[in-house]
Every structure is written in C-alpha cells, then in structure tokens.
C-alpha cells in the first residue's frame, strides 16, 4: 500500500492534536441549540439518551417478570398484570430500544464522520426523524401505560381485536406507525449519504464494515417498514370500518395478520442484528490491530443477510397451519441465513489470528458477543428444522434463542460500541478496569439467565406463562438469579460511563489505534467534523499506527 493511499489528516484536526478547546459539545449552548440542532452528532447523542432510557424501562419490566416467576404460582403480580408487563417489556425493547439503538444513536454519530463529511445528506430530515421518534415514543408509552395493553408486542389477531381496553391496540399501533416513519427516514437518509457523499478514495470496498452493515440495515428499514404501516392501517380499517381482514367473525383470517406482521418484523430482526455485526467487525479489527479477515466476505454477507432476511418470515408460523409446501420452503430459506452469519463469526476469529490483541472493555464485550451470538445462531438450527420446531415452537427455547441473538448479540455489541466510541463522543476516557468487570458480570449474568431457559424449553415450558408447573421452578429460579446479576452488570457499565463524564481523563484523538476516519477527528470532534473532505485509503491498514505514551493514545507515524 503506497503512502498516498493512507488516510490523510485533515487540516482542522491534526493527528495527536491536544484536547480541542472548541468542539461540537460546546459549539453552541442552551436548550434550543440542542432541541433545534441539525448536527448529526448531537442528534445521535439525543437518540442515545432516549434509547438508553427506554432500555432501562424495558429492563425494569424484565426484572419484574423474572421476580414474578420465582414461584411457580401465586407470584406477586396478577395474571392480568403479568401479561401487561411482558407486553411492555417486549414492545419497549423492540420498538423503542433495539431497532433505533445502533442505527439511530451510534449510526447517526458515526456515519458522517466515517465518511469524512460534515453531516448526513438531509440534516433537517434527520432532526425530523428524531422528533418523529419522540412523538412515537410518547404516543406508544402513553398507550401502553394508560390502557393496560396486554396483547404481547406481536398484536396477534383476533385477540388484539377482542381485547377492548379503550382502543389500546389502536393507540399503541399508531405509535408504532409513527416510529416506523422515523425508521424509514433515517434509513433513507443513510442510503443517500453513503451513496453520494463518500470521500475521494473511498470506493465501496474501502468503506468501513460498520457502514456496510448500516447500509444493509437502511435498505431493510426503507423496504420493510412500510409493510408495518400497511398492517397497522389494515388493522385500523378493520376496527373502525368493520371490514373483514383479520377477524374471523367478519370472515377475515388471523393467519393473514401473522404474515403481514412478520413480513416486517422478521426483517426487523436483521435491522437489530446487522448493525451489531458491523460494530463487531470494527471492534475486532481495531483491538486486534490487524486488518479485518475476509473483508469482502463480511461485506457481502451483510447484504446477503439483508436479502435473505426478507424471505424467511414464515418460520414464525410453522405451527399455524400453513400449507405444507409453504412451510417446507420457509424452512429451507431460513437455513440460508445461517451461512452468512457463520461466515462472519469465522472471519472475526480469523481477524484475531496473528493479531495484537488488546484486552480492554470494548474488546471484552466484542468477545462476549462472539460467544453469545454463536450460541444464539446455533440454537436457531433446531428451531429451523421443522420436525423439531413442532416441539419447540413457542416454548422457552425460543425465548432463550432470541434473547441470545437480540440481547447477547445486539445489546452486548451496542455496549461494546458504546465503550469503543465513548471517548470520541464525549472526549472522556472511562475506567477501563471497572469497565472490564462490568463486561464479565454481564457475561456471567446473561448466561445464567438464559441457558436454563433452553432446558425449560425442550422440557416443554410454554412462553408467556404467568404461572407454571412446579417441576420447572428450579430452572426458573436460576434464571431469575441470573437476571439480577445481569442487571447489576449493566448498572456497573452505566456507572462507569457516567463516572467518566465527570472524572474521566481527557481522551486522546485515537485511544484504541483505529484507522477509520473518526479516529482522525479530535475527541470530541469539531462541529464541522472535517474542514475539507479527506482522501482515504484502506480503512483497515494499521501500518504505522503506533502507541504514543505522551498522548496516551495512538498516532500515525509516517
């Protein structure tokens, strides 16, 4: 690789520059400077606060569920309250946390900086997305808390039609409708930005893999989310106009609702996991100080997952009584998704091979991700096998499987990414030792929570049960103990981050030794990111990036 291909430092933010006196956080001040900001970095941070608050709320409901299930009967919640609590947990986690977490919070902050641009293509639309998200959040939370919605986050008909809780379903689904538009606009914005605003030298195959993942995610957001909107409109039309679509009393078919719902919600699973995979690709490469193994395969596999993800929704309905041919075809398509996922795991391991592995908080989260995601992925195999799914469908095996993917995968990657880019976002270093302890507690707590649930599932414990047979009690108690441990680990992680804001030392420009453009910008970046568009080369060329003790970070030695 010639010298000319290497990242060139922009004049505004010289490498190794000291902590900048002027940056996006103090560029302007006052409430309105945040509320009306068009700066993608501030919008990203506002999303971050929003999604983390949602996560805390959803997490509290999760703990309520686990505590209720301590005893096999006569828990501290009534059946009805329990059903409302698991609905709140699922709906908040899916719609308010996981879907917007990485793309909207980290993606917003990083995407333009990684592209060496000042902002996304449509900054006003970006702010609009944020306010749509806030509106959706308010509508959704109001609907959930006031009306006592108890349909589960899936809103399956005809239960969601029959349950007459003050139009709870209509209000909540309207919230989802609005949230969907926020998601669509963000996706659209990212697609246009990546297509049109890449800097000189950044060909498609010189894009950081986080951008590939974000791009694939955005395509799903733009193509799949409208179907959710259509579903919600059909649900409203049925309810308000009495047209028979999903309600068997009006000659509708409830299974049609499931098709509509999962046509969005399955691709949504990939909206959740793809950006997490992007984060892990960045983390593995930077903290191994070595180029990513099999760059093209990782990039292609992101796109493959995005495409295959559209074709597998039927596996949520294997027991619903679909035609046999349909069922078998969906099973075959389901297995296609496993291949690109497996390739990614192997490539991440290949990245470690002969690298220089730094063990620190983000890396520990990344390694935890590989461990947990591998379990999550492998346990998808028995669920995709039709004969086995007939036994495991809607049992705790499924619950454990998707928590391994969604929480062990997306949440852990989100935390890893958050620690990784935290110095860049806030300009502060966190306490790495306590950070690593948080990763260890999260890892142990997570496994203790969800491993027993695999066994519960194969033994036949159904999902969404407020009370259960006594024989399942021991495993449930293990799981509850694990969930409390997990809660403590997450609390420690939060405290480490909050502590750094007040007491953390100033972050160097490049604390980890990354080669992508965000590590060229000062920490925190200036308002405009880059004075002129930088010319870039290979995002994973770590040649000459050396640790400099004086700076406490890495600098590029030419």
């Amino acid at each position: 690789m010639s010298v000319a291909d290497r990242p060139i430092v922009s004049p505004a933010s010289g490498e190794g520059a000291a902590y900048p006196e002027h940056h996006f956080l103090n560029h302007t001040s006052g409430f309105l400077s945040w509320a009306l900001t068009l700066d993608h970095k501030r919008i990203g941070l506002m999303y971050l606060v929003g999604v983390m608050s949602s996560f805390a709320l959803g997490g509290m409901f999760a703990l309520m569920i686990r505590l209720h299930l301590w005893n096999f009967k006569d828990g501290w919640l009534s059946n009805q309250t329990y059903n409302q609590v698991f609905t709140l947990h699922g709906a908040i986690m899916v719609f308010l946390f996981i879907i917007p977490s990485i793309p909207a919070a980290l993606g917003n902050f990083l995407l333009p900086i990684m592209l060496g641009t000042k902002d996304v293509a449509f900054p006003r639309l970006n702010l609009g997305s944020f306010y749509l998200w806030v509106t959706g959040l308010v509508l959704f939370l109001t609907a959930l808390s006031i009306t006592g919605l108890d349909t589960g986050w899936t809103f399956y008909t005809p239960y969601s039609i029959e349950t007459q809780k003050g139009g709870a379903v209509l209000a909540a689904t309207f919230g989802v409708f609005v949230l969907g538009f926020s998601s669509i606009f963000t996706g659209l914005n990212f697609i246009v930005t990546i297509n049109t605003m890449r800097p000189p030298g950044m060909t498609w195959f010189r894009m950081p893999l986080f951008l590939w993942a974000t791009y694939a995610t955005s395509i799903i957001q733009v193509l799949a989310t409208p179907v959710l909107g259509i579903t919600v409109l059909l649900l409203s039309a049925e309810r308000l106009l009495g047209i028979g679509i999903f309600d068997p009393k009006l000659n509708g078919d409830p299974v049609t609702f499931q098709h509509f719902f999962w046509f969005y919600s399955h691709p949504a699973v990939y909206i959740m996991i793809l950006p997490a995979m992007g984060i892990i690709s960045e983390l593995m490469s930077v903290h191994c100080h070595k180029g990513i193994f099999g760059y093209r395969m990782i990039a292609y596999s992101s796109v493959a997952i995005a495409l295959f993800g559209f074709l597998v929704w039927g596996h949520h309905m294997f027991t619903s009584g679909m035609a046999d041919v349909t069922t078998i075809v969906f099973s075959a398509l389901t297995f296609t998704v496993s291949i690109p996922s497996a390739i990614k795991v192997f490539n991440w391991l290949g990245t470690m091979y002969q690298g220089t592995v730094s063990l620190n908080t983000p890396m520990l989260y990344a390694l935890a991700f590989i461990f947990l995601f591998t379990i999550g992925g492998l346990t998808g195999l028995p669920l995709g096998a039709l004969a086995l799914d007939m036994h495991m469908h809607d049992t705790y095996f499924v619950v454990a499987h998707f928590h391994y993917v969604m929480m062990g995968g997306t949440l852990v990657a989100f935390l890893g990414g958050l620690f990784h880019w935290w110095p860049k976002m806030t300009g502060k270093m966190f306490n790495d030792n306590v950070g690593m302890i948080s990763a260890a507690i999260v890892f142990v707590g997570f496994n203790l929570t969800f491993l027993p649930q695999f066994v519960l599932g194969t033994r036949g414990m159904p999902r969404r049960y407020a009370t259960y047979l006594e024989e399942f009690q021991d495993l449930h108690r293990l799981s509850t103990i694990g969930s409390l441990t997990l809660g403590i680990g997450l609390l420690v992680a939060l405290l480490v981050l909050l502590h750094s804001l007040f007491y953390g030392r100033r972050a160097p420009t490049n604390p980890w030794g990354g080669a992508t453009l965000e590590w060229v910008c000062s920490s925190p970046p200036p308002h405009d990111n880059f004075a002129t568009a930088p010319t870039v080369g290979d995002p994973y060329d770590f040649n000459g990036i050396e640790y400099d003790a004086k700076q406490g970070g890495y600098v590029k030695k030419a």
Partner: protein, 338 residues
Amino acid sequence: MPFILADKVAPYAWFPEGASSFAPQVDYLFTGILWICILFFVPIVIAMVYFMWAYRERPGYRGSPEALHNTPLEITWTVIPTAIVVWIFWEGAVGYLDMARIPKGTVDVNVTAKKWVWSFKYENGGENSFEKIGTVDYPKLVLPVDQDIKLIMRSEDVLHSFFIPAFRAKRDVVPGRYNYMWFHTTKTGIYDLFCTEYCGDNHSNMNAKVEVVSEEEYKKALEKAVQEPEDPLERGKLLYKRLGCSTCHYAGDEGANGPGPSYNGSWGKSVPLESGESVQFDENYVRESILNPPAKKRKGYGAASPMNSYAGRIKDEQIDALITFMKSLENAPAKTGK
C-alpha cells in the same frame, strides 16, 4: 450431557420421555443437531481463548498484519456449514411431512379451544371428564395406546395452540377454520397438555391432561364418556367446568379467582353494577349475563377482560342447569386470601 443437566425433578436433560411415534425421530434429530452445535461451538471458543492468549498485546511482541484472506479456508468454512444445514433441513422436512400427512383409519377426536378451557368430543359423541390433580381440575382427554389419533381442532374465540411435550406435537388452533393434527400413541400414562399461543389473562391456566390407556380401558372410558347428566344441579356443575365458566369465576371451592366475579353468595341478592345501579341476581340477570355479558357489568369489573357471549353456543336448558348450580351457592363463602 444428560447426567449434567438432569436434576431432582427431571431424570432427563432435554426432552421428557417420549410417548408418541414422533418422539424417537425428533429426539434423534435434536441429538444430532446438538452434537453439530458442540462441534462448532467448542472449537470456536477454544480458538477465541487461544488467540486471546497467544496474540495478546505485550511488550516486545508484534502481530503480523499479513493474514487477511485465505480463499481455500473461506470456501471450506462456507461449504461445510452449507452441507450440514442441508442435512438438517432435509431431516427436519422429512420428519415434518410425517407429522403433516394424516394416515387413514384414525381414532378421531374433536377438540374445541376457548378462553381458557380445552374440551374434547369423542367419536361416539361423549365428552371429556375432569380430573382433580392437586387443587386444579384439569380437563382430561383419554386416548387408546398404539393407535393413530387424529385431532380436529377449532377455536371459539382467539388463537390457541395445542401442545403435548411428551408427544413432540404442536399445532395452532385458529378461529374460523379447522386445523388438524395427528400422532401415534406408544405408551400408556398421563401427559401434560399446554396452550402455547398467548390467549389472554388465564393463558397459563389453559392446561389439560392426556391419559393414554389400553384399548379395553379406552372402550370403557368411551362408554362412560360423559353425557350431560339429567339432574340439573349435577349438569350445572359439569357445564360450569366444560363451558369454561370455571376459568374466570370462582364457585363453591374451585375455579379461577378472576377475572370474573365469583358466584358464591350472590344468588337472590341485590348486586351493585358498574353503572351505579343495582340489579337483582336472579334468573333473568344470569341469563342476560350469559347471552350478553357486557350489558350489566358488576361493580369493580368494568376494566376486567370482557367475556364472550354464549349466544348460539348454549341451550336454554343448559342455562337452567347453570342457574340451579348458582342457586346452590347462595350461602357459599366468598374466597378469602389470594
């Protein structure tokens, strides 16, 4: 594996002992996939931990940036997993086709699901009885051993799902259509039946027991298969359970404590309504509440999950029997405690 995971309540690790012809097939496939998972997972973790150690950052060590690509290796780790998932898919699909193709000459049972009770109707028109286990009265489905059983299932309200773990069999019960399932019983015994599709407040109580018995015992059970008794009180007691009343209304010393009001001590009294008025708890009120439940909601039950109308699903003399049953509870004590 089994000896690690088995515990004091279950002598097995993963699956309960199988009792249908599907079980060997399913368990075999699960064991196969489990070993495949182990064969992938263990090396992945070993490699991860080894790389963490061997290539850790330390003074005087510098990794090589060379290994970025290896086409034969990348093809290998694409092709091998692909071949394996093709096998898993194939085995799964073949097993599924077995489950989906219903043989001829089956013993048929009509299954009706409604919030929150299962009811079963045998070929001779008789209906299921109930069996008390602990404090819970479970609907009991009796089946002959070594027979192909076909279930013709319908739902009267929302989605339910019929699941017997010991049979490794599950199928959703969808309102507005019949769904079918079948299995071949191989072992006598009593097995759990769960509803596995969320159906509202008492979803987790929507359980039943399946008893697989010998051919002779099955014949006896069929003869006894309950026809509704003549005596109105006995008939009322039975209907209280069979029609699902017991899943919401506490009566005597049984049934679920909610979401609906208890029958105990109500008959003949003046009961307050949500609207602020009061109504005499008499024949007309009971009849109206069964046929048009939302008309006069009891005070304190305005926000409770609504009851579905029984209009068209219940005969007048059955209402009479239920009335007789409620009359008999005129002085029954209210449920105390939880």
